[in-house]
């Protein structure tokens, strides 16, 4: 059971090898990828920034909660920080269990809670050069959160 941040690219095949367990009948993984659009805008890249100490503490708490709520054998989550190009793996969650129901439910719980609670922030870089911190726009238009070029 673990949660950690990584400043370097993730290797899902290598990460998954740590979960090998002959008691497990199911392994569910979630990968979050940097996609090329968000709310109608063309995205070129992302920056992820974390409050590392509290992020790892809160992430570990979420993984422990998943273990309490669902009959899982192992659960791991790794989240990238730094500058990520399109297509890059931003977050990886994997859960093993005897049965698939618990593996699906725990995997979804971990990513849903991580997105809502772990102090990690995402800045999108748009075609044209503007940037925005996601979820941080303030009233009216997005002018406060989207920083125009120059």
């Amino acid at each position: 059971m673990s949660f950690r941040l990584s400043a370097t690219p993730l290797d899902p095949a290598a990460l998954q090898r740590a979960l090998v367990d002959v008691r497990a009948g199911a392994c569910v993984t979630f990968e979050g990828w940097v996609r090329n659009r968000n709310e109608g805008q063309a995205v070129l890249a992302l920056d992820y920034e974390a409050y590392a100490l509290l992020a790892e503490k809160e992430g570990a708490k979420i993984v422990a909660e998943a273990r309490m709520k669902f009959a899982v054998l192992a659960a791991h989550c790794v989240h990238r920080v730094g500058h990520l190009p399109l297509g890059e793996l931003a977050v990886w969650v994997a859960v093993t269990a005897e049965h698939r129901g618990a593996a699906f439910d725990a995997c979804r719980y971990i990513i849903d809670e991580a997105k809502a609670r772990v102090p990690i922030w995402k800045k999108e870089h748009y075609a044209g050069g503007a940037t925005a911190w996601i979820n941080c726009a303030t009233r009216g238009d997005h002018a406060d959160a989207i920083r125009p070029v120059g």
Binding site: G32, Y48, E49, A50, Y51, L53, L54, K57, E58, H79, A90, V91, I111, A114, K115, A116, R117, V118, P119, I120, W121, K122, K123, W133, I134, N135, C136, T138, D144, A145, R147
Partner: protein, 80 residues
């Protein structure tokens, strides 16, 4: 007056223009301190959209700040 260290991340770091500072304040709660900093540095997020952590633990907006605390204001998160 108490002495605190304040750390800034993400949009707050950019708007404040630094990652941490030491300061003295008459504020006794995270909310009061945030409102003071928001007015001084023209931070855009209102206090009700910012959470607080003290010494690397989430705290209530009305928690009591103590001399020497390390305070972090947490803008809306967006992992994943």
């Amino acid at each position: 007056m108490i002495s605190l260290t304040v750390h800034y991340f993400a949009i707050l770091r950019e708007q404040r223009g630094l990652t941490e500072e030491k300061l003295t304040t008459r504020a006794t709660t995270p909310t009061a301190l945030y409102d003071e900093l928001r007015a001084r540095h023209h931070l855009t997020l209102p206090a009700d959209r910012v959470r607080a952590a003290v010494n690397d633990e989430f705290v209530a907006a009305t928690a009591t700040l103590r001399d020497g605390d390390r305070v972090v204001f947490i803008p809306p998160v967006a992992g994943g």
